[in-house]
Amino acid sequence: MLWSSDAVKKGCNIFVLSASYIMKDLINEKLLLYKVRIKRDPEAYGLLYDLYVKKIYRFVFFKISSREEAEDLTSEVFLKAWNYLVENSEQEIRSFASFIYRIARNLVVDFYREKARRSSELPLEAVIEIVAAAGAGEEQRLEVDGEIDEIMKVLKKMKLEYQEAVLLHYIEELSAGEVARILGKSQISVRVTLHRALKKLKELLEKK
């Protein structure tokens, strides 16, 4: 197949344009983070909230499957993040995304730990299992409808490690590097997990 110079030029333009948009967003986000940390600017934090509230809510809701509890936890995530940012302005934060997802992840674990403690004293392994299984029996709450819902239903039945990797990388479109920072793993390990998770997801969907 022959490539016309116009097609190449158009392709290059699209690439440059999307790269410039990504860079612009990234710089904007870092600028907002700088204003929050150095100037303690609530308005800048409000804009970061606008950028991340849906993502964090989805992340929490996916793990908890209760709208009210997901709303409460999401609010807590943002308040906790603000307090940390202004109280520890000397600590380096390379990416706001990985920082806020890590807080959300920890709060979800705390949530289940507290839940487990109330019912009975459970070891951490059991808590992790509960988190992984959360919503697996409650998927009806997601109002199953169509192929996407079917995928989400199957995804919820997979192990926690796979769920998190797929959710963050494929659904939330975070880079493998950011996923690695959030999950506290190496990039290579995240790529391997993603590959296996996708394979497993396909297998499960084919069985349906």
Binding site: I27, I38, R40, D50, F61, E71, R94, E147, Y170, K202
Partner: protein
């Protein structure tokens, strides 16, 4: 393209669009807006009216906005440090030191602060005044002590490591100051009284600062070694001066000044011993007040003895390398800790007695002998202090009921540690 690859791509696309197509995954728009308003009101209440002070790491954070992550850390950061060091070396001291004075170990600007001090050190050494050099190193040591306190106050996750880093530097500064003061004795004896006075005050300040840091930082921040190094240095200098004054019959300072120096060492040691005793007495009171039977403190605690430990009640029992769990009544543990603590108090009283003897020797102009007594008393008090710190950890565990919920090995460690 294979069928599998096509399916993978399709699945990826479906996952990508999931958040847009499935409304149930997304938050309610009205909640998003209400929560934003609530959040803004909450965080506005926490914003202080004071403008944050400028720090060098803010420059780094600003650079980081426009430079991609990896490039920033591998290329720009080292360059930034280099440029900042250069700026500090070539610009006025007031502006540069002022900007870095709040930097703490573990922060990017801390290297700049130390580099600024190095440059200051170089300039002072070229000027050649030993007294000035000694004072400068004492000032650096005071800064390190304050850094230890600040690092602990900030409660960073790696606070113990950062505090340890500052303490290593503190000890180095004290050692350098010690050498510079000894040089003052030889080269500028007329300045030694003033320099030693500054050193004794600095040692006192550093010890107080480190004590506060240790109280705030808990068991993970170990300041005992550094405090001892500071005290030893001070004792060593005064002893050197007294020796020189008495040795060749040619006084470098007046008898009155020498007496005052020794007297100050005695007063400081007396104060430290008194403080140590008070802490030990407080720990005994806390221990005695801890309920033996309550919900969070059971009457018995299971302890596995993995090494030789001494359990003292009314008499002393020895368990040698027992691998069988032993059930110790909590009252026994309380008695053990109480006994060890009382031994520390007794040791403190002994030190105070020795210091009183040193005072008498000073009155009789036997300064060298008095210094020997001060050294003995300080060492004994220091040993007692270490015991009190260990006992305090265990007392806190017993009184808060943590002892019961801690792993058995930790419980054993506490008791073993206490007996050392």
């Amino acid at each position: 393209m294979t069928e599998t690859a096509v399916m993978s791509d399709l699945l990826k696309t479906q996952l990508k669009t999931a958040k847009k197509q499935n409304d149930r995954l997304n938050p309610d728009q009205s909640w998003v807006a209400q929560n934003r308003a609530k959040l803004m009101s909450q965080i506005n209440n926490t914003v202080s009216k004071d403008k944050p002070r400028f720090r060098f790491d803010y420059v780094w954070q600003a650079i980081n906005i426009f430079v991609p992550g990896r490039l920033a850390y591998t290329v720009v950061r080292p360059m930034a440090v280099f440029v900042l060091v250069g700026a500090v070396a070539t610009s006025g001291w007031i502006a540069s030191v002022g900007a870095t004075q709040n930097c703490l170990p573990g922060e990017i600007c801390y290297g700049v602060k130390l580099a600024a001090e190095k440059t200051q050190e170089l300039v002072t050494s070229v000027a050649g005044a030993k007294g000035q050099q000694a004072q400068m190193h004492l000032e650096f040591a005071t800064r390190r002590a304050k850094e230890v306190k600040k690092v602990v106050e900030n409660k960073a996750v790696d606070a113990p490591q950062r505090a340890a880093e500052a303490m290593v530097k503190l000890e180095k500064s004290i050692q350098t100051a010690n050498e510079a003061i000894k040089a003052v004795v030889e080269e500028e004896p007329e300045k030694i009284v003033e320099v030693v006075k500054g050193m004794q005050e600095t040692a006192k300040d550093i010890n107080q600062t480190l004590t506060v840091a240790a109280e705030q930082g808990g068991s993970e921040v170990d300041v005992a070694g550094t405090k001892q190094a500071v005290k030893d240095s001070s004792l060593d200098i005064v002893k050197t001066i007294v020796q020189k004054n008495e040795g060749d019959g040619k006084n470098i300072i007046s008898d009155e000044d020498a007496k005052t120096m020794v007297q100050t060492q005695i007063d400081v040691a007396m104060q430290d011993t008194g403080d140590m005793k008070s802490r030990a007495e407080d720990a005994v009171k806390v221990l005695e007040a801890a309920p033996i039977t309550s919900n969070n403190l059971p009457s018995d605690v299971v302890v596995t003895v993995s090494s030789t430990i001494l359990i003292s009640n009314s008499s002393i029992q020895v368990f040698v390398n027992s691998t069988t769990p032993i059930i110790l009544p909590t009252s026994t543990i309380k008695n053990v800790l109480g006994d060890v603590n009382r031994q520390a108090i007794a040791q403190g009283q002994e030190s105070q007695k020795t210091l009183e003897e040193a005072k008498v020797l000073v009155d009789g102009n036997h300064l060298l002998e008095a210094m020997g007594k001060v050294k003995d008393a300080t060492q004994a008090a220091e040993e007692a202090e270490r015991t009190v710190v260990e006992v305090k950890k265990a007392v806190d565990a017993v009184s808060s009921g943590v002892l019961n919920s801690q792993p058995v090995s930790t419980t054993t460690a506490i008791i073993t540690e206490v007996k050392k």
